[in-house]
Each structure stands twice: as structure tokens, then as C-alpha cells.
């Protein structure tokens, strides 16, 4: 019994060590190319631990808030004072510095040996009051995640929208050329940190997509020298080949309830949309045409699918009932509109819009109409909405390589995610 307090101290010190270390393992650099208008000024003070301040947790929070484009984070070098929790800030002092909000926090030992507790207060320094006060328990190895969770809480309190800093993204990275080319399916935090390999293969991997419960991933793999769709449980690693017909097995999209996968198969001639019941394995055909029908994406209400079809001569977006029937054309602007994806509220559709000079990410109302271009790259593709609908993740060319980037749906905030290791594409955002 005597050993217990010692053990707790070890965990605690280990945690402090990690606070300092976490930034070293960074594989990705967020590079904000364009900020938004009217960003709110905020200062995030270093979190204290046993009276000693530790900066890394506050750096995660600050970097998340800054990256959202909705906040301007005050540089630590300009802090007029360094109050330690539970001392509140000197409100007029921060006001004079042009600040609206200040975050002060600390890290304490948790109730169990291997847990810590982050505690923080968000102050409104203009009104001189507390906006939010929370305690977040966490395990020692979850230090970055607790930073993202605190950033989410602050974001929600000040913008009214759900924060997505504590979510994850999946993507495919390809490196090497010819026989040395290797494809990897990875999952990382939404800021690109902490990448973990889900699978590797010498043959292409494509189109990863999270199940609505966030526990599974569907993707296309050519590991058998032909296209097949797999569903992999991210916790156990167990995976199942769910579709391997002759020809194309591609573009999987989960139904909102997670029971069905829409997909593209060309087993009956040309590529068409089919719906697979994941448990029973029963397959139902949705479109039937000699042209290309592919890239189905479910509307959040589960009633319909947006898809790409070249039945009119050029690729355009169409809407079809999940029950089948005649697809209705949605896009008329430009000669290339593909890979349509619904926003989480179902009111918008993002797509790849090709026109003069390049392929860009466009956004329009789900009913069709004008396409607003959000990006200005030459070769932008694979749009994927953040779960709060505020951002679109996509891939772009950067110095000859594919890289991921994010753009806010008003087009005002852009971020490049620089991930090491060759071409990075086909991203999907976790729920």
C-alpha cells in the first residue's frame, strides 16, 4: 500500500514529461495560408502543474483555435502577466492588450494512479466574468487529445458550433516509384498529428470512408491485383472483403445508419451504383445505364444519393432516390463536376469542379444552382466535410506532391496540412 503514492507520482511526472515531449513527435505542420475576417482575440496561458507552468497543453489548444480561423491567438511573448490558477486575470490589463478572452488552467493528479485531470477557466475579460469552467480527466498518454477536447469546449462556448479538433482523419499516402511504390492507409488527429498505420500494400489503396459510428472503415484495395472493397474494424483490426466482383469495385459510401454501403460496380457492363446490405450481403442495383455512374454519396436523411454520371457526354452530378429510378441532373455549370458530397446538414453539396485552368473544390445548394468556388488550385480533388460542416478537407498539389488542405465553407480560411511521406490523398473525416 505504501507504493501507491509513489506510483501516482511516477504517472504524474511521466505526464509532465509528455506535456513537454508531445510537440517533438509532430509529423505534420499546419500552415495557415489565409485567415478569416473578424477572428476573436484570445490568450491561452500555459497550464500550471504543481505551481510550475507547462506550455505544451496550451500550445495544442492555441494551435487548434488559431487554425480554425475564428480566433487570433495572442503570442506568449506579449502576455502582460502570468497568473496561475485559481487566480483570475487582471481584466483591464488584458483588455488594454486588445484581448476578449483569456484561458487559465492547470493539470492535477486524477483520482486513480494512471489518470490526470486538466482544469481550466475561460474568462471574458471585457465583461469581467467566467464563461466556462471545466475539469477533464485523462490518461497520461492522451495529452494531445485532452488539448483538442479543451479546444472543442472553448470553440463551442464562443461560437455556438461543435468543435472538431478532437476528431480524426483517414488518408492514403503513397511513396516511392515503380516497384518500390508503397501505399499506406493512415488515421491521424484532425490536425495531422499522431498518424497510425491501418494497413500497407504494394498495390493501390483508395477511397477510405468512416462508418457513421466511427468504428469501422470501408476502403478499396488492389492487393489481389484487382479492385475489392474491404471493411475493417479499427479497434480489433479484423477486416472483411465485402465486394470483389469482376471489374470495378469502388467508391464506397456508408448509409447514415451504417447498415448499407453504396458502391460502384462494373460487373454488368459499365460502372453503375449498387447498394450492399453489409450484414446480409444482399446487393441491389440503383442505376442502369451504359454511361459511367460512380461516386455515390448518401444524403444525411438516407433518402437519396448524389452521384457522378457522364450520360450527358461530360461528367456531371445527379441525384437519385436510394430506391432507384431516373437520376435528376443537378449541375449545369462547366464541363466537369464530379465527386459530389453532402454536407452533414444535407443542405449543401461540395464537388470537384473542372473548368478553365484547373480542378477546384466547389460548393452549391443541395437542390442545384450556382457553384461557388472555394479553392484556386490546379488539381484539387476529394472533398470531405468536417463533422460540424464548417470545413472541407481536400487534396491538392503542392510542389509536385499531393497534400491535404482544409478550406472553410465561406472560402475565407485555408490551411495546408503538410504530412511527410510522398503523396497524400483520398482523405475522409471521422464522425
Amino acid at each position: 500500500m505504501k507504493i501507491r503514492p509513489l506510483l501516482r507520482l511516477c504517472w504524474f511526472l511521466g505526464g509532465l514529461f509528455l506535456l513537454g515531449l508531445s510537440s517533438v513527435s509532430a509529423e505534420l505542420m499546419v500552415d495557415i495560408t489565409q485567415g478569416g475576417d473578424g477572428a476573436m482575440p484570445i490568450a491561452v496561458l500555459p497550464f500550471s502543474a504543481s505551481g510550475v507552468s507547462s506550455g505544451s497543453l496550451s500550445q495544442v489548444i492555441a494551435s487548434d483555435l488559431e487554425g480554425s480561423g475564428k480566433f487570433t491567438v495572442m503570442p506568449a511573448s506579449r502576455f502582460p502577466e502570468h497568473p496561475l490558477m485559481p487566480t483570475p486575470p487582471d481584466f483591464p490589463l488584458w483588455q488594454q492588450q486588445g484581448q476578449e478572452h483569456v484561458v487559465i488552467g492547470r493539470v492535477l493528479q486524477g483520482s486513480r494512479g494512471d489518470t490526470l485531470q486538466a482544469e481550466f477557466v475561460l474568462y471574458d475579460v471585457i465583461q469581467g466574468r467566467e464563461v466556462l469552467s471545466e475539469r477533464v480527466p485523462f490518461k497520461v498518454n492522451e495529452i494531445r487529445h485532452v488539448g483538442h477536447r479543451i479546444a472543442d469546449l472553448i470553440y463551442k462556448a464562443l461560437t455556438g458550433e461543435r468543435g472538431v479538433f478532437n476528431t480524426r482523419v483517414a488518408y492514403v499516402s503513397a511513396s516511392g516509384y515503380g516497384d518500390d511504390r508503397e501505399y499506406r492507409l493512415l488515421v491521424a488527429d484532425s490536425d495531422g498529428e499522431d498518424p497510425r498505420v491501418v494497413m500497407t500494400s504494394p498495390e493501390p489503396i483508395m477511397s477510405p470512408t468512416w462508418s457513421p459510428d466511427g468504428k469501422k472503415m470501408a476502403y478499396v484495395s488492389f492487393e489481389d491485383h484487382a479492385a475489392a472493397i474491404f471493411v475493417q474494424n479499427l479497434g480489433s483490426g479484423e477486416r472483411q472483403k465485402v465486394s470483389s466482383h469482376s471489374g470495378i469495385n469502388g467508391a464506397p459510401s456508408w448509409s447514415p445508419d451504417g447498415s448499407q454501403l453504396a458502391m460502384t460496380l462494373s460487373k454488368d457492363g459499365s460502372p453503375d451504383i449498387y447498394i450492399l446490405q453489409v450484414i446480409s450481403g444482399s446487393l441491389r442495383r440503383v442505376t442502369q445505364d451504359d454511361s459511367i455512374e460512380t461516386e455515390a454519396n448518401w444524403s444525411p436523411d438516407g433518402h437519396s444519393l448524389v452521384l457522378t454520371s457522364d450520360r450527358g457526354g461530360k461528367p456531371q452530378l445527379y441525384l437519385v432516390s436510394a430506391q432507384g429510378g431516373e437520376p435528376r441532373r443537378l449541375t449545369y455549370e462547366g464541363s466537369y463536376n464530379a465527386r459530389g458530397v453532402f454536407s452533414p446538414d444535407g443542405r449543401k453539396i461540395a464537388m470537384v469542379h473542372g473548368g478553365d485552368g484547373g480542378y477546384r473544390i466547389g460548393l452549391m445548394d443541395a437542390e442545384g444552382g450556382d457553384i461557388k468556388l472555394l479553392t484556386a488550385g490546379r488539381l484539387d480533388e476529394s472533398p470531405a466535410f468536417s463533422p460540424n460542416g464548417q470545413f472541407i478537407l481536400y487534396s491538392r498539389k503542392d510542389g509536385g506532391h499531393d497534400q491535404l488542405a482544409m478550406v472553410s465553407i465561406d472560402g475565407k480560411v485555408k490551411q495546408n496540412l503538410k504530412i511527410k511521406g510522398g503523396d497524400v490523398r483520398g482523405a475522409s473525416w471521422s464522425p
Binding site: S201, I248, S266
Partner: protein, 197 residues
């Protein structure tokens, strides 16, 4: 989290040799393509339309010259032709968003079709590819369409359906890296491969 590692099959020495031959022919082709395109004014970034089609044709002729000038033709090979011979020409290039086999590549299709029809036990994989522009899953569909176009032409020349397998890799396996028209042109292709030979 789980990580699955998949093995890479070994290349046989014959395949290795074929690859060497293919690469040397291809490098000559590439040089000529680059020359052909640069005379037209280099990169064309237009998405679609007449100008680009013209630029492609120009490049296509460059390729044609390369093939016929340096080609390992089928002359006199007759029945002795194995995948080693017609098949030093195993790549067919396509125009943007098109799947029709251009006249200058018809001989590549015919050479391989003749080999297959005279060797009914042989099988070929037609790998369809697209350039990197646009959406990756739509490009899978374009690559398949190109491979099917080649398959159709081969069947008309007596190749049995069961001898042909089609796989589309879309933009996932570029033959060459780069982001300009001459690169894209070398990536819009169907490669004919003979597994197990």
C-alpha cells in the same frame, strides 16, 4: 491499431528482362513525346476542348515516330512471336477523356491480339490508366473504359473473352510523375501484361 502487411510477388527473370526492354523503348518514346509537345508550345492546362485535342495529336505523332522508327516490329516473327516480341509494344496511349484506339496504336493491339489468338492458352491483363486530373474514382471508370475498348478490338481479332482480364487503376499508378500535358499523355494508357510469363 492493426496493420496488415502484404507481400510483393517476385518478378521472374523473364519479366525483369521484359521490363528492361519496355523501359528502354519507353524512354525513347518519352524523349520524342517531349520534343513533339514542346513544338506545340508546351503545357496545355485547358480542361477540355479543341486546343488540347490538337496538342495531343501532335504528341501522338511524336510517339508514332518513335514506335515505328525504333520499333521492334513484328516483321517475320510470325508464329514464333511470344510476349517477348509483339509485346515490346504493349502500351496504348489515349487522348484526354477518350477511349478510342488511335490509328497509330492499332498495330500494338493487333500484335498482341495475334499472339493471343494463336496461343489460346495464354491470358493477358489489360490495365487501364488515366491521368491525374479530376476525381480519382471517376478516373477508375475512365481507365476501365479504355481497357474495354482495347479488349473489344482484340475480341474482333479473334481473342477469346476468357483470355482477357481487365483491371483499372485510374490515376493510382502513374507511369511517370509530373503535372504537365506531356506527363498526363504518358499516363493515359492501357498496358497489356502477360501474368506468369
Amino acid at each position: 491499431m492493426f496493420a496488415a502487411h502484404l507481400g510483393r510477388p517476385e518478378l521472374t527473370s523473364e519479366e525483369g528482362m521484359m521490363m528492361q526492354m519496355f523501359k528502354s523503348v519507353l524512354s525513347v518514346l518519352m524523349m520524342l513525346l517531349v520534343l513533339g509537345c514542346s513544338s506545340k508550345g508546351g503545357v496545355n492546362e485547358e480542361g477540355e476542348g479543341g486546343d488540347e485535342a490538337a496538342a495531343n495529336r501532335e504528341g501522338g505523332r511524336g510517339a508514332k515516330t518513335g514506335q515505328y522508327g525504333y520499333g521492334r516490329g513484328r516483321s517475320g516473327m510470325g508464329g514464333a512471336a511470344g510476349p517477348g516480341s509483339p509485346a515490346s509494344q504493349r502500351v496504348i496511349y489515349f487522348e484526354y477523356d477518350r477511349d478510342d484506339v488511335l490509328p497509330e496504336y492499332q498495330s500494338v493491339v493487333t500484335g498482341n491480339a495475334e499472339y493471343l489468338s494463336s496461343h489460346p492458352e495464354a491470358t493477358a491483363v489489360l490495365q487501364g490508366h488515366a491521368d491525374e486530373r479530376g476525381s480519382s474514382e471517376y478516373n477508375i471508370a475512365l481507365g476501365e473504359r479504355r481497357a474495354m475498348s482495347v479488349a473489344r478490338s482484340m475480341r474482333l481479332q479473334g481473342v477469346a473473352d476468357r483470355q482477357l482480364q481487365i483491371v483499372s487503376y485510374g490515376e493510382e499508378k502513374p507511369a511517370t510523375s509530373g503535372h504537365d500535358e506531356s506527363t498526363w499523355q504518358r499516363n493515359r494508357r492501357v498496358e497489356i501484361t502477360y501474368p506468369g510469363r
